[in-house]
Amino acid sequence: MTSQPNRLAQGGVIDRTKKIRFSFDGQKFTGHDGDTLASALLANGVRLVGRSFKYHRPRGILSAGSEEPNALVELRSGARREPNTRATTIELYDGLDAASQNRWPSLKFDVLAANQLFSPIFGAGFYYKTFMWPASFWEKVYEPAIRRAAGLGRGAGLPDPDHYDKVNAFCDVLVIGAGPAGLAAALTAARSGCRVILAEEDFRLGGRLLAERYEIDGAPALDWVKAAEAELESLPDCRILRRTTVQGVYDGGTYAAIERVNDHVAVPPAHQPRQRLWRIVAKRAVLAAGAIERGIVFGDNDRPGIMLAGAVRAYVNRYGVTPGKRAVIFADNDDAFRTAADLADAGVAVAALIDARKAPSAAAQHIAEGAGARYLSGAAIERVGGGRGVNAVEIRDAAGKAEQVDCDLVAMSGGWNPSVHLTTHLNGKPQWNEGLSALVPGSLPPGMSVAGAAAGSFGLASCLAEGLAAGAAAAAECGFAASAGKTPAASDDSGAASPVWLIDKSRGKAFVDFQNDVTVSDVKLAAREGFRIPEHLKRYTTLGMATDQGKTGNANGAAVLAAVTGRYIGAVGTTTFRPPFTPVAISAFAGHHRGPDFRPARLASSHAYAEEQGAMFVETGPWLRALYYPKRGEDPQDAVNREVANVRERVGVCDVSTLGKIDVQGKDAGRFLDRVYANTFSTLPVGKARYGLMLREDGFVLDDGTTARLAEDHYFMTTTTANAVKVMQHLEFCQQGLWPELDVQTVSVTEQWAQFAVAGPRARDVIQAIVDSAYDLANEAFPYLACGDVTVCGGTPGRLFRLSFSGELAYEIAVPARFGDSLARAIVEAGAAFGIAPYGTEALGVLRIEKGHPAGGELNGQTTAHDLGFGKMLSAKKDFIGRFMAAREALTDPARPRLVGLRPLDRADLIRAGAHLIPKDAELVAKNDQGYVTSIAYSPSLGHWLGLGLLARGPERHGEIVRAFDPVRNGDVLVEVRPPCFIDQDGERLRV
């Protein structure tokens, strides 16, 4: 094949000195710098680029922009393969590799094209009606088969190897679109000194000026574009974002935009992202997004070679490409007939100008004469010749006479639709403009104005004038002195159309929505079946769905629906446009937050030490905590058993820094705590800690923990790891909202302190070796629940608490977190002589279950103090949050499920958490369900499994045998109801 047979020798904004090699479906081609994949394919004479979604019809290139419904390709290969990319927006780069989609075995010969023979049964709602029975077949049989047959491209199926950024930006004025209106708006705004962001979807500024042969101030319009671009670049507070599509409008003047930073190269350069998701906060925005042309609905209007007229001008004028050798123009507006002049000047034969309007247009007639073409008004294309590409059209003229005209290019236009999409994202409703036969912006998002074609002003002079004015107004509203200045001289032809909407007599499938293969007969069928509003029509026929969201098809769809239901098009309405404006890669939404960075992880200060010891970790909320520390060859259960036994028999150390820690200070700190805790804290002596129970306002348990009094006006509260944030918020609410009169200050100090539990009969020996000798730690001097400031390891300030979660003699020792790693190592070193071993959260759980302490499984938001055996802690001498509601009859009902211990009757049996508790001889039905198992553990101390559970009237039933029934995992064992505490019921070990 000759290289680029359809490339003009000159003209356009491409660099012919730079040859770019690329391949499509394995065939090698060359194009030029400045090309898109679509323009380069057309330059090389490639018209057939894909197969359609449902009928596998041959499809070519319809448009020259992001509205493209047909020319979707798989771009790149391997992990970077991206399906459904629009050939019209892909910038050509050296080595580009693209493949057509939805065809097998090849693009030219596609087996499933036979689908169109069965099209009578593939109408709207076909899937819903056909694949109804049996229902179980839908997921496993029908849907996969349908997806294979009617699909678009294939995803890579591999992790995206590239990096994606999210960026925040702020400005006074955001200008969306850099065509004549947008450039003008950006100029006046930026000249005033305000901060401007100009976002342009294309890789070049200029918008339609790139595609047309306009003049501004008597010179080529692109000279004006170049000057505007240079001026904007010279202004320090103006940022131009090229290759950036504004995708959505959100509250507070927030806009989302995607910048395709490196989609125009094979692989992003080192350290560069592929795309950036911009979050732009703008005080004002000027929408200058232009307009999108619509086609005409006639039979076989989807054949390759039938293109939008504006796109044909873009290929000729911007890319120097002739998309055909002999053209006809079929349109209902004068703007489109200018295509004939552009084609003729580029040396393309123009056979005929077919004007769908009844009244002849002098302007169109004039163009036809200049192009040496025939002009037929009140005429239409009724038939298209050629399968894989148009080769002739049959025209019926106003008199009813039909004739065939040979051609390989049809430039069609049904008028232009202003790009109103972004005006509707905050529920703005576009309005039908009868004069323009198009929807124009209605109510606008706060702070947004619209200029140029997006507002329905299609003439160039109007675009410039509106842009200048909108930019100046936006800047002025931001407090800058701005003036619109003089509008440059330019032509001002309006693009108004007199649409015919539907060529009803034509033969062949007349497509409304190319991407979803929705035809006129589908719309008619839907209307007959009662889907008479566009939203319903969309769901039933898929009109307006998928990657293009009906950018070229929606208006025609509404018009056909209006016609077949006998309504005025302006009354039919439209579907809702929602973000994003164009498809966005999931990776762009994820940005940095992928894999291990999905969310931040909080690491305790002993994390590195635990890693060195080979710990397995578990996520506890945002924290990573050591779960257990397996020795070489040790299985998890053995490791946990060993760690538990070591605490019971010798001594263990566990990082408990993840518990929430809150400093509560101030003159009224004690009074404050009396109100937030169910039990009393104002009476707690300095140097002592106390277990506390916090209720919610509704009387259920919120959280528990110990709080120590470090000074008269200073308490140190701890919370569970899971509830740390919730409790802090609760305290702030109480302090600021409920009792602002109290002198109390709260602040989280969770991060400040590395805190370790040292537990076991030898705990004092270890602690004495760590704490400096000035401190007397004898049992009498520092008894159970004592606390105080100490120094450790020769002077490091710390705190010591005599607290126990395990039921053993135990301490918690705290130092500023930067010493945490060192303290962990020092404790293990000092404890070696006493047989110390680190233990993880799994052993911690076993130890507390053996002791019957409630934790996550029991503090589940549904239990009361009475349920957990803490009824006596509810002070009768004071008011506190939850007091009144906790006293409700139902909450203190003895028949409520309450905390019990459970022991398997056959000690070899395994109890399962979640198993239901049912009386021994009762029928296994829901009404006999009396509670469930909340926590289980294998107790190495007792040599069998045990559990905690919530059982109706539990405390009254100690000694009874019940069934722990787990239908999900076939568990059905008899268990004995016991007091929750299995070890050292009298708590003697705590106090030795």
């Binding site: 925040n168 350290h271 937050h593 200050q745 991060e751 390891c793 070193e829």
Partner: protein, 201 residues
């Protein structure tokens, strides 16, 4: 008593290794240094206490009423809420700041030592704003944020306090110690585009 003294450890130990990273050549877009040894403490005013005058008398600082920095010779106060400040000091290092504040502002403010609980990074350089913009949804343009401005916000889902030091621009960013490694991963995936240098001072 153990004869081994405890050694402090940065939460970025093994991560913040001095060197030049990312885009090569030219001035680094941003320079990153961990500010070790800072005294950090939260200061919360007691109800109705004449704290302002005491702070002025003791430290020569006008306590800011908004999210900005009150700078004094020994220490600065970064406002982060009504009646709440983060005190930051180089000379009153580590725990000594909280001790000093507790002594001099006794009964006037509630002091909590935070010197072990925060990692403070200083980001400086011509592209510091561009790096921060990848995670921080606060406008750092000189018209909106200047030396002495402060903010409490999030970066990549992690809570931060930051304040501007100078027009380089330089920013100090205080983050919770436990997320330091996650923050470092965000920072070192955001800065390479501009070239960055990790230094120790």
């Amino acid at each position: 008593m153990s004869d081994r003294h405890l050694r402090p450890m940065s939460a970025l130990a093994g991560l913040a290794i001095p060197g030049r990273y990312g885009k090569a050549g030219g001035e680094p877009g941003v320079t990153i240094v961990e500010r070790l040894g800072l005294g950090l403490a939260t200061v919360a005013a007691r109800k109705g206490a004449p704290l302002r005058a005491a702070v002025k008398a003791s430290y020569g600082v006008n306590l800011p009423d908004d999210s900005s920095v009150g700078q004094g010779p020994e220490l600065s106060f970064v406002g982060y809420g009504p009646g709440q400040w983060l005190a930051v000091s180089e000379s009153l290092a580590n725990e000594s700041l909280a001790r000093d504040l507790a002594q001099r502002l006794r009964g006037l403010a509630s002091i909590s030592d935070q010197s072990g609980g925060r990692t403070v990074l200083r980001l400086s350089g011509p592209r510091a704003r561009d790096v921060l913009a990848k995670g921080l949804s606060i406008d750092l343009h000189p018209r909106a944020f200047s030396p002495g401005s402060a903010a409490t916000s999030t970066i990549a889902l992690m809570g931060v306090q930051l304040w501007q030091i100078d027009d380089t621009p330089s920013y100090d960013i205080a983050l919770f110690r436990s997320v330091s490694a996650s923050f470092w991963r965000w920072l070192t995936s955001s800065a390479p585009e501009f070239g960055y240098e990790v230094t120790t001072s």
